[in-house]
């Protein structure tokens, strides 16, 4: 272990900012920065167990609807503002305030309120029981990162690009579209475990040149995903490079709009799902790196089902169903206008063509998909179930009747009942049963389907050590070092 030195990280995206009210949700790039700038109450260790960070200890109530955290004393924000329960509550209230209409509020919908009974005590009051709550707050996302209330108040509009946290690194400079330079926080409460003097984050949007930058030694670590399988496999063979992988939960998913033809007919939906050969597909698009998914939870989740009700891969059956449907099956699928979006679209198209269905690819830019999805202006759209420590938030909003994100426009009292039950149940095993029942139901109804589980990649020089597991795809370099 060597202290000092610096690291340059090549990220995919340009970070828009950190003010939750502005950016709503942190993307993968913002997460890397936020994990260095901010602290969360807890963090997950290598075994996935929550460990103290800003919180020293925590205690649930009987029914897991109230969690009490004891905070670490003497912590200060980078601007000198003391960190305490009040400051934390201010952060939370700001997100929750309906007047702010924060997109982030969605992720804290289960939290009714946060109380600060004293300087170092924090109480979360939840609407529904949550057994895994300390794990949920470990992730340096928009909802969990703790900002300095004085900073956002005094900086106003400028706060977005001048974030102030308690984290191990302080924002030194930031050129839009180019470099963000973070310097070690000399007053950090845990400064002995922080090694790099400086972190440089760069958006490198093009996958090929990003990898080339790593090869040429300009950056030490790059974000990557399985679509650059060639590069990943090349790096795996290269002794000078290390590939970091994390097999997370969640999946890449697709939602049928069940209110419009031809997807108002279950036979069509089932046929399309059965026509897929995920292994082949993985081979074709990611050299086999992608892990097929048969349910929305994935291997990384604690929800493990003996029977998830996945429909069999059966081309003949699919053909038969489509024949049975009688009418020609023709539809458009939204696809992001990126090389990988086109690739996946074409492969799906190919499978469905074989089953006798005609899919037309509609390329749209990334920003168009959410509004079209929310306005239900699509027949089939790609979506993603992100990696969270508890499936509830996403499952509930994705499938509960009337939720804006219930993209399938599908309503089933039984599904609603299961979702409600899983949400209010504290017993993990019972919840697993519920979620497996949900999976079976969805798979059978084929309102959504899943192709691959989420797997996260980062490639670095072999010298880089101490990179923690990339929970939820978050690359946290704040405690890494170079040999």
């Amino acid at each position: 272990q060597k202290a000092g030195g610096s690291i340059t990280v090549g990220l995919e995206l340009d970070i828009p900012g950190f003010d939750v009210l502005k950016v709503g949700v942190y993307d993968t790039a913002a997460l890397t920065a936020s994990s260095a700038l901010f602290d969360t109450l807890t963090y997950l260790d290598a075994n996935g167990k929550p460990q103290p960070k800003l919180a020293l200890s925590w205690e649930p109530s009987e029914d897991f609807k109230m969690w009490t955290f004891k905070l670490r004393p003497g912590v200060k924000f980078h601007d000198g503002t003391p960190f305490n329960a009040e400051a934390f509550k201010a952060n939370f209230d700001r997100q929750k305030d309906p007047a702010n209409k924060c997109r982030c509020a969605f992720y804290i919908s289960n939290v009714n309120n946060v109380q600060a009974p004293d300087e170092l005590t924090l109480v979360y009051n939840l609407n529904d029981p949550s057994v895994n709550f300390p794990s949920l707050v470990s992730y340096a996302s928009q909802t969990n990162a703790v900002h300095s209330p004085t900073a956002w108040k005094s900086k106003g509009e400028e706060y977005n690009r001048n974030p102030v946290g308690t984290g191990p690194y302080i924002l030194k400079s930031w050129t839009a579209g180019d470099r963000m330079i973070l310097e070690k926080n000399p007053d950090y409460w845990d400064k002995d475990k922080v090694y790099f003097d400086r972190i440089t984050l760069k958006p490198l949007p093009d996958a090929q040149s990003r990898f080339a930058s790593l090869q040429s030694g300009e950056v030490d670590l790059v974000w990557d995903d399985e679509y650059s399988a060639d590069n990943i496999q090349k790096a795996q063979k290269d002794s000078k490079l290390t590939v970091h992988t994390y097999e997370g939960s969640g999946a890449q998913v697709y939602a049928f709009n069940t209110k419009v033809a031809p997807f108002d007919d279950i036979r069509v939906r089932q046929a399309l799902v059965m026509a897929l050969d995920r292994k082949k597909m993985s081979q074709a698009i990611t050299n086999g790196l992608s892990r097929p998914a048969s349910n929305p939870y994935g291997d990384g989740s604690w929800v493990k089902c003996k029977d998830d009700g996945a429909l069999p891969e059966d081309l003949e059956k699919a053909k038969a169903l489509i024949k049975d449907y009688g009418k020609p099956v023709e539809f458009k699928m939204l696809v992001t206008a990126t090389p990988r979006g086109r690739m996946v679209g074409q492969v799906l198209q190919q499978f469905w063509k074989r089953a006798g269905a005609n899919m037309e690819i509609e390329q749209v830019d990334q920003a168009t998909i959410p509004p079209r999805a929310f306005m239900r202006q699509f027949q089939l759209t790609p979506w993603r179930i992100v990696d969270l420590a508890d499936p509830d938030i996403q499952m509930y909003s994705n499938f509960k009747t009337g939720s804006p994100v219930a993209l399938a426009n599908y309503s089933n009292p039984e599904l609603d009942k299961l979702l409600d039950h899983a949400r209010v149940t504290a017993d993990t095993n019972k919840r697993i049963d519920d979620y497996c029942a949900i999976s079976r139901l969805i798979n059978k109804e084929a309102i959504w389907f899943w192709t691959f589980q989420n797997t996260y990649y980062a490639i670095s020089t072999a010298k880089l050590k101490g990179l923690p597991k990339m929970y939820s795809g978050m690359i946290d370099v704040s405690r890494a070092w170079k040999e």
Binding site: D230, N231, A284, A337, T338, P339, Q350, E362, Q363
Partner: protein, 290 residues
Amino acid sequence: MATLELDVAEEAVSQAARKGRRLGLLFWAAIGWMTFVFAVAVFAPVLPLPSPTDMDMLERRAPISAEHWLGTDGLGRDELSRLVYGARISLVVGLCAPIIGLTLGGALGMLAGYFRGRFESTVVGSMDVLLAFPPLILALAVTAYLGQSIFNLTCILGVLGVPAFMRVARAATLTLARREFVIAAQALGATHARILLRELLPNVILPLFAFFLLGVAVTIVVEGSLSFLGLGVPPPISSWGSMIGEGRESLDVAPRLAFMPAAAMFLTVLAFNLVGDTLRALTDPRQGAL
């Protein structure tokens, strides 16, 4: 006048002889390649080729073999077949878009150069607006709004080319409109339409044609760039430009996927220009007079 007749008859012969001699081997090679590309593109559906969209997902980037003459692409599709079908798109877009620019820009430029005055200012001003406007936004707006199709793509590229053609046509017309033969036509009482069509057009078309040839090359490449940004031809249709873009992803593993379409494009563009240059030289009176 006996001698005059003699001379003239002789010249007629020499003119015929000249055409045969002037066109070199290169010209015929270029014609050959163009005919080949056109024929292959037109007859693609009846050629014994595998489907350009059928994937053999386990055979991606297969090397050259008896089954796949040029191997397969990143999704296991027959590369040769995609090249052939890509030729159709690239040729259609690469020729039609500059034709749109040529006709629209050419007409506007000629009118502006001929009538001058306020009309000219308006045309030049609106072309400046078009030039000052980021082309990407136009492309995005049109594809987002009207959908992605070869037709729309051709129109976008065509419209984007209009200002340049307008400038060329206007510049040529400005000098020509002052030339004596135009005034001569006016003196004869010819209408504006007649002067524009009969006197100016045959002369303006030459520089426009030269520019058109360069435009074909540029358009095929720009189509590739738009495909790269997701604004090009809708998949699974292939164009040479989009194939280069796809090939770029496997540059390490199978560089030929990017270079083969680039080579096809290069040869075609070069052939167009060789043929164009030669034809131009043949019809240019000044060259003939020497």
